[in-house]
């Protein structure tokens, strides 16, 4: 069983704590997400065929594709899915605000991280989602600080200019 690095997608041995390729901290996929074969009589009947196919391929597949399988399975009829749980904050709204108001580069990075939070969460990598959420938050804070400082400096400049021209006029 390999652990797929969330950063560079390299397969690492299951006991590894950090990726041997890039040094990124490895987060094992959530145990709950792996064992989505739990029975729920209601939903099982119409999708029984699909499910048996999936579980057959699941056995031969690597862990990465197994997680993907269980993710799709989960979206079809998974009883232990995360659909009803609250994902971490994505800061998408803040990032868009930053993009159209002050700090385009930070905003765009923020939007990319927001997408990352969502995809990590719904693939079952809860810790990775949290990590990306924290990064998105940092970018948001950076954008706000840069915007505030920029605006403040601009105001100072304008006021300074106004005062200077007034004193010049008076003299």
């Amino acid at each position: 069983m390999d652990i797929i690095c969330g950063n560079c997608s390299l397969a690492n041995p299951s006991n590894a704590k950090f990726c041997k390729g890039c040094g990124y901290e490895l987060i094992p996929p959530d145990k709950n997400e792996q064992s989505t074969k739990t029975t729920s009589t209601k939903e099982q009947e119409p999708k029984a065929e699909v499910k048996s196919e999936q579980s057959a391929t699941q056995q031969s597949a690597t862990q990465q594709s197994a997680t993907q399988q269980s993710a799709t399975q989960q979206s079809v009829n998974g009883p232990i899915d995360r659909k009803h749980e609250l994902p971490p904050k994505t800061y998408l709204v803040h990032s868009i605000l930053a993009t159209i108001f002050c700090c385009l580069p930070f905003g765009i990075v923020g939007i990319v991280y927001a997408a990352g939070v969502e995809s990590a969460f719904y693939r079952g990598y809860h810790d990775l989602a949290l990590q990306k959420s924290r990064r998105a938050k940092i970018w948001t804070i950076v954008a706000i600080i840069v915007g505030l400082i920029g605006g403040f400096l601009y105001l100072l400049l304008i006021l300074g200019g106004a005062i200077a021209s007034k004193t010049l006029l008076n003299n």
Binding site: H84, E85, L86, I96, T99, E118, I158
Partner: protein
């Protein structure tokens, strides 16, 4: 987040809205100009968003659209986003599962697909408004 902090942000937003409603960035020199425009001479995706916000606040949707159509379209979306987020994340933690409708709104309007669509829209708008 602590309570006074939230109050401070709310007050700041209120003041900002009042300032943008009272003063027209197209006429007043008090509002910061876009650094990207001044450095490169090209418009950025956010250029005109302050004037668009003013126009929207005084009820002139046509003018807002003229200044920055992307921002004009995004303002209501962003307000909805803030409301959804506020409702979802202020209640969570203590109570069990979150409201299904809010969660659905969050996932489909502010999820991964939405983020990528907006990213592409911003980039296309950026290119388009400088070429056309």
């Amino acid at each position: 987040m602590q309570r006074w902090y939230k109050l401070l942000i709310a007050c700041g937003l209120l003041v900002a809205v009042i300032i943008y409603a009272l003063f027209d960035p197209a006429e007043s020199g008090l509002f910061p100009k876009c650094p990207f425009l001044q450095l490169t001479g090209l418009l950025c995706p956010g250029c005109g968003s302050q004037r668009a916000l003013h126009s929207l606040l005084v009820g002139d949707i046509k003018a807002a659209f003229h200044y920055n159509p992307l921002a004009t379209l995004l303002f209501p979306y962003l307000i909805l986003g803030f409301v959804v987020e506020l409702l979802l994340y202020s209640k969570s933690g203590t109570s069990g599962s979150p409201n299904a409708i809010l969660l659905w709104l969050r996932k489909f309007l502010f999820g991964r697909a939405a983020a990528y669509i907006i990213l592409v829209a911003v980039l296309l708008f950026w290119g388009g408004r400088n070429i056309l």
